[in-house]
């Protein structure tokens, strides 16, 4: 049972890693970036290419993947979202869904449907505590997501650009009146969110030794669920939501039947949306007119 808790924690931290990027973008734009899962996939592919084809070391590959994904994120924002900033919600949503389908199938066309191996470039250590087994890469993922959460929190709360982001989130009109270039703030947010997605993609791709064009879809949805669970827009919430979702899924398998795994995840999503749409740590968002 204790092992299942560890399983839940490791699964949860990978959801949290994806959820962080979601929450960033949603916090500023109030837009579900449906393409987030695809940017996660693009990041994993760039990481794979740079580390295997170009032979760069792990850290460098990670940086290149994050930078590349950030670029893709900014381009996606510029093409598919920015022109629609003042259009009704429905138009942006449809555009976002279209972008997600486009990116996934573009990757399919360029890379082929085959799953590619993405081995961890260093020795993975296994820790045995009695019957409990923990391995070093899972710990790395957990630490990375906690570290990124703290860094993000700092970025948003303590830096000038963070202040600009909060201002834009609050009210774009007023923010621009105050001399904030809303377009740049949003582009920056997308860059950060996409870089986070790429970090998640590389780490999770390595952990499961597999990268393929469809890999972003389910994690994208689960990451979103985690973000909603924790309270969309809240950075610690994304972390909490990710862990809780991972736990719920693992416990569902451990105590119920594994056939219902995805139903459990989406059931939780539906339940949260119905009972407390603002999530556990989110604040109630009053829609203004």
């Amino acid at each position: 049972m204790l092992q299942q808790v560890v399983n839940g924690l490791t699964l949860g931290s990978s959801y949290a890693l994806i959820a962080l990027g979601y929450t960033m973008v949603y916090g500023v734009l109030r837009l579900i970036n449906f393409a987030h899962g695809e940017i996660y996939m693009v990041g994993a592919f760039i990481g794979l290419m740079t580390s295997q084809t170009a032979g760069l070391p792990f850290a460098a590959a990670m940086v290149v993947a994050m930078a590349g994904a950030a670029l893709v994120g900014v381009v996606v924002e510029k093409i598919a979202y920015r022109p629609l900033r003042k259009a009704p919600r429905l138009a942006v949503l449809i555009s976002a869904i279209g972008m997600s389908i486009f990116l996934r199938n573009l990757a399919l066309a360029l890379m082929g449907p085959q799953t590619r191996a993405f081995p961890i470039p260093f020795e993975v250590k296994r820790l045995n505590l009695g019957r409990l087994r923990i391995n070093s890469f899972d710990v790395l993922i957990l630490l990375t997501s906690v570290g990124l959460m703290i860094a993000l929190h700092f970025l948003v709360q303590k830096t000038k650009i963070g202040k600009a982001m909060r201002a834009a989130a609050e009210d774009k009109e007023t923010a621009s009146l105050m001399g904030i270039s809303v377009n740049r703030v949003i582009a920056f947010t997308f860059a950060i969110g996409s870089a986070l997605a790429a970090a998640a993609g590389v780490l999770i791709g390595m952990n499961f030794n597999a990268v393929d064009p469809s890999m972003g879809m389910m994690p994208g949805l689960k990451g979103f669920t985690a973000a909603v669970l924790g309270g969309v827009g809240s950075i610690p919430g994304a972390m909490l939501g990710g862990i809780l979702l991972g736990m719920a899924e693992v416990m569902g398998i451990a105590l119920l039947k594994s056939e219902w795994r995805d139903a459990i995840a989406f059931g939780i999503l539906a339940l949260v949306l119905l009972v407390k749409p603002s999530g556990i740590l989110g604040r109630n968002l009053q829609e203004k007119v």
Binding site: Q3, L108, T115, R133, F208, N209, A210, E249, V250, I253
Partner: protein, 405 residues
């Protein structure tokens, strides 16, 4: 009633001018719809007319058209492309040897994208527009279940080289299958594991799709019949990445884990099982047979054993000839899809040679095939149209596939 009035009260609450405008607009709509339907209808008629009376009389050369349906794009494209390449390899060889009764074979491959509706459209096109004489396909079991009734109704021979779900050949006498079925290979593997290797404590993890469930059911039944105990049965969905919860639930006190699914997930399951401290031997079915299993699974899949209908390392001359010509064309090793498709095409060609252009006779000749020597062993068909084939057991040794029995 009041409620219905509320829903349909357009006339009462509308001014006259608005009502008229609406009527005009709706007229326009109806005319657009009618025009569109008419356009499609006309294209349909002209399309079938321009096609000529039948495929056989097409052109100057004497050509027999062979159709193929399967996922050439999308998530399952690997399987469909392998089938297409296998059929094409066979056709190239047959044509190089002078064709069938002086006729040249021509392959028309249509994409199904792995979706049943698309597959149905594709097969209708092959039958009605291209007038194919026989069809190799479909590839996925779901597709085959959708398109087989269409082929049966049209009286066109259809042989699937890869759909393994039980009962597909029951759809009719024009439907054949040339692949070892799930029940046969799962039972063989259970026998191998229990009787030959002497395992008593087994567990099963299966993909929650037709393939995985059929394998799981048959493996479990046979293993229990032979006296072994199945200590855990867990499922997953295609595309899942994290299997640790299921593996922890199964526990590490098992001798063998039967993974009823395809190689992508099997590789991940094997790796995660090793990390969880599960030292059991992995067993599987023909879904394991891909070099990708070793590439993705690494050391974790070493020693794994699985059932298969084809072994590219076979010393037999026919197999080596096929492997080298396939490699030359497509620069990759043929997998079981390609091998079964290749044999299927050769078998269909043999039946064609005897039956001529008579489609009913073609089906009868197909049923009469006995001990056909192919790259997937010798093949005969039973009364239902199921292939009776040898099942091989392969295992992974030092990262390569070798025969286990």
């Amino acid at each position: 009633m009041k409620f219905m009035n509320y829903l349909f009260d357009s006339n009462k609450n509308h001014s006259d001018s608005k009502g008229k405008r609406f009527r005009i607009r709706s007229m326009r709509t109806v005319s657009i719809a009618v025009l569109l339907a008419a356009a499609m209808f006309l294209v349909g008629c002209s399309g079938s007319r321009s096609e000529g009376p039948s495929g056989e009389a097409d052109g100057v050369d004497k050509v027999i058209k062979i159709g193929m349906v399967g996922p050439l794009t999308g998530d399952y494209a690997t399987y469909g492309q392998s089938v297409r390449n296998g059929v094409q390899t066979a056709i190239d060889e047959i044509n190089a040897d002078g064709g069938v009764n002086g006729y040249t074979l021509q392959l028309i491959a249509e994409d199904s994208r792995g979706e049943s509706t698309e597959a149905a459209n594709a097969i209708q096109k092959l039958i009605d527009q291209d007038r194919v004489t026989a069809i190799v396909g479909a590839v996925l079991s779901g597709e085959t279940a959708t398109v087989a009734p269409i082929a049966q109704d049209s009286g066109v021979l259809m042989v699937t080289p890869s759909s393994t779900a039980p009962g597909l050949t029951d759809i009719g006498d024009y439907i054949f299958r040339n692949v070892i079925t799930d029940d046969v290979q799962a039972q063989q593997m259970a026998e191998y594991a229990v009787s030959e290797l002497g395992f008593n404590k087994l567990a099963v993890i299966y993909a929650n799709n037709d393939y995985g469930v059929a394998l799981k059911d048959n493996f479990t039944a046979k293993a229990q019949e032979l006296g072994a105990s199945i200590v855990g049965t867990e499922s997953y969905l295609d595309g899942d990445e994290d299997f640790r919860a299921q593996l922890t639930k199964i526990g590490d006190e098992i001798e063998a884990l039967y993974i009823a699914g395809y190689y992508t997930e099997a590789a991940k399951i094997a790796q995660q099982a090793r990390r969880q401290g599960i030292e059991a031997i992995f067993l599987g079915a023909d879904g394991f047979y891909s070099e990708k299993l070793v590439e993705l699974g690494g050391d974790a899949v070493e020693g794994a054993a699985f059932t298969a209908g084809f072994y590219s390392g076979d010393e037999v001359e026919a197999v080596q000839a096929f492997v080298s010509s396939y490699k030359q064309k497509y620069s990759q090793e043929p997998d079981m899809f390609a091998a079964n498709a290749y044999d299927t095409m050769k078998i269909v060609a043999q039946a064609l040679a005897k039956a001529g252009n008579d489609r009913a006779a073609l089906k009868d000749e197909m049923a009469a095939i006995k001990d056909f020597p192919g790259v997937t062993g010798t093949t005969s068909f039973d009364a239902k149209g199921e292939a009776v084939k040898d099942v091989l057991i392969l295992k992974i040794e030092n990262g390569t596939f070798v025969r286990a029995s």
